[in-house]
């Protein structure tokens, strides 16, 4: 009797310890965000007060006012949204079909093609950006939506992950559909896609994040003010020599980041359900 009670006590203590660790690490995770938000609402003098103030004494909306007034946020959001939606949609669509082909078919030069796609990840974008820029300049895509989208119409990450997911789909389902006379395209779209729904949602989420935060390529290819995406717009708040602009910069970052956290929370619902059938085997 004493033994069982002791085991129960240990189990509870174990759980408590787990909770403690998780909470402690969560605090570490959230700390920089906390600092970001605090900076965004503290007056300029307090931002670099020494000793630093972790709980602000004064609050101000000044930085948000400056940030909102200084930049055309609607335009930034719209541009970021257009780019993100188009690139994610294309990547998902093309990735779905390509992933299916790599997972289901056997065709000559298959491994070569797959490695080729993967290898596009292996040369740093800092140097390929110049060569790509020159290429786009020749076809007049510089400073256009197409220019921003050009390297992002497809995603090697997407192809890779979707391929893993589709490999788990039982071949019999596909064969049965073929027997029934369904065309390949229809099979992909109506049978396979729903089965890998979760993978697609994961890919969509991560690609969306990547596109939303993408800075280097947009900053190089965008010249006009009207085409600027969010990260490009926020960068203009930066002042590496001065600290006075930390306030508006953090305010700008909060404005840009906030919706992303909301979007993540919403997508979580979609992501977890229905994984049981697929998984990432093989």
């Amino acid at each position: 009797m004493g033994g069982r009670e002791r085991r129960r006590a240990l189990a509870v203590a174990g759980r408590a310890a787990v909770y403690l660790v998780v909470l402690a690490v969560a605090v570490v995770m959230a700390l920089p965000f906390y600092w970001m938000v605090v900076t965004a609402v503290s007056p300029a003098q307090d931002i670099l007060a020494f000793p630093p103030q972790w709980v602000p004494n004064h609050l101000t909306a000044e930085h948000f006012r400056i940030a909102l007034a200084k930049a055309p946020w609607a335009s930034y959001y719209l541009n970021s949204l257009v780019v993100a939606v188009v690139s994610v949609a294309c990547s998902l669509l093309f990735g779905l079909f390509a992933g299916y082909a790599f997972a289901v078919y056997r065709f000559p030069l298959q491994t070569v093609c797959f490695l080729l796609i993967l290898s596009t990840l292996m040369v740093p974008v800092q140097v390929t950006s110049v060569a790509l820029y020159v290429l786009l300049a020749k076809i007049g895509w510089v400073d256009t939506y197409l220019g921003i989208l050009a390297p992002n119409f497809a995603s090697a990450f997407g192809v890779f992950l979707i391929r893993q997911g589709i490999k788990a789909v039982p071949v019999d389902l596909i064969e049965a559909a073929r027997m029934d006379g369904a065309g390949e395209v229809r099979i992909v779209l109506t049978i396979v896609a729903p089965l890998v729904k979760t993978i697609l949602a994961t890919v969509a989420m991560i690609l969306f994040l990547g596109s939303w935060n993408d800075f280097l390529w947009p900053v190089i290819v965008i010249n006009s003010q009207g085409l600027r995406t969010l990260p490009v717009g926020i960068a203009l708040f930066k002042d590496p020599y001065g600290s006075i602009n930390y306030g508006p910069l953090m305010a700008a970052t909060v404005i840009a980041t906030g919706p992303m956290l909301v979007a993540y929370a919403l997508s979580q619902r979609f992501m977890i359900r229905g994984i049981a059938l697929t998984g990432l085997k093989g």
Binding site: Y19, L23, A26, M29, A30, L31, P32, M36, F50, P51, P52, F94, G95, F97, A98, A101, V104, Y105, R106, F107, P108, C113, L116, I117, L118, S119, T120, L121, M122, V123, P124, V125, Q126, V127, T128, V130, A131, L132, P151, F153, A154, F160, Q164, A168, E184, V188, I199, T202, N213, I234, T253, T257, A265, Q268, M271, I272, I275, L280, K281, G282
Partner: protein, 319 residues
Amino acid sequence: MADQRDRSRPWPRSSPRPGPRSWRRWWAHLRARHVLHAYLFIAPVLLLFGLFRVVPSVQTLIYSVYRVELLRGRFTFIGLENFRDLLADAAFRTGVVNTLIYVLTIVPVSAAFGLGLAVLFDQRLRFGELLKAVYFAPMVTSTAAAAMVWWWLYNPQFGLFNVLLRLVRVPDQPWLMSSHTALLSIIIFSVWKNLGYNMIIYLAGLQAIPASFHEAATIDGAGPVARFWRITLPLLAPTTTFLLIYNGILAFQVFDQVYVLTGGGPAGATNVVVLDLYRQAFERYRFGYAAAEATVLFVLILGVTVVQHLYSRRFEVAY
């Protein structure tokens, strides 16, 4: 007649002289194996990547055997001279060493932490959803923006980390200011940044393991630890492979956080390959030299990826 499901043999080598009959059979065979479909399905990706990614990459790699004066339009072929210079360049060597240290630390550590968190969150924890969001949150900001925040957190005088250390009577750490601790500071930042990503990929993988497996093992008397090692971990092998390969590729090209946090300093102590090639290209205008660095990096990444791919095959368990 070739078996429609036979995926190991290419088209049938039936008659020695192709006549109308064997063409039709060859075509039927191809259609059965959907070769045409295959090429059509991968065509968009290949074409788009081919034009917008492969061509610029190949062009950049080709620059490594030239002295490139891009704006003058002058390309002088100099063979392997850039590569010889690279080997002699101490900054590049430091860059390679630092990059390797970075990759070898961050990839397994991030995966391990991600796995731990995923296992934790797989159970029903109170406030689980909220905590998960908090852990994922660092992924939402751009690396550069987060790095700027951490630059201040690492400030030896005002930064939060030293303030916390003072509370527990630990002496102030120089963090980014000393070449002994700078690389470690960057690594800590990167682990923080990527934790959430590893976590959700593992979560997806975990939830694919049917509960029946765990139930059966429990009935057989296996404790949670044994279940983890014997069932969970092996079944997660493909996920682990994916993360190690993909994160590895990205880790080799680390740039943003180094640029923002230390600029490669102090005194070049945290130089990494991509930072080095960036400065050679856009501050010294030695584009051919930078391309040579990119080539070396490419070969390194490709090699590691191929090795990982081959090695991982041994661990994949199907059921």
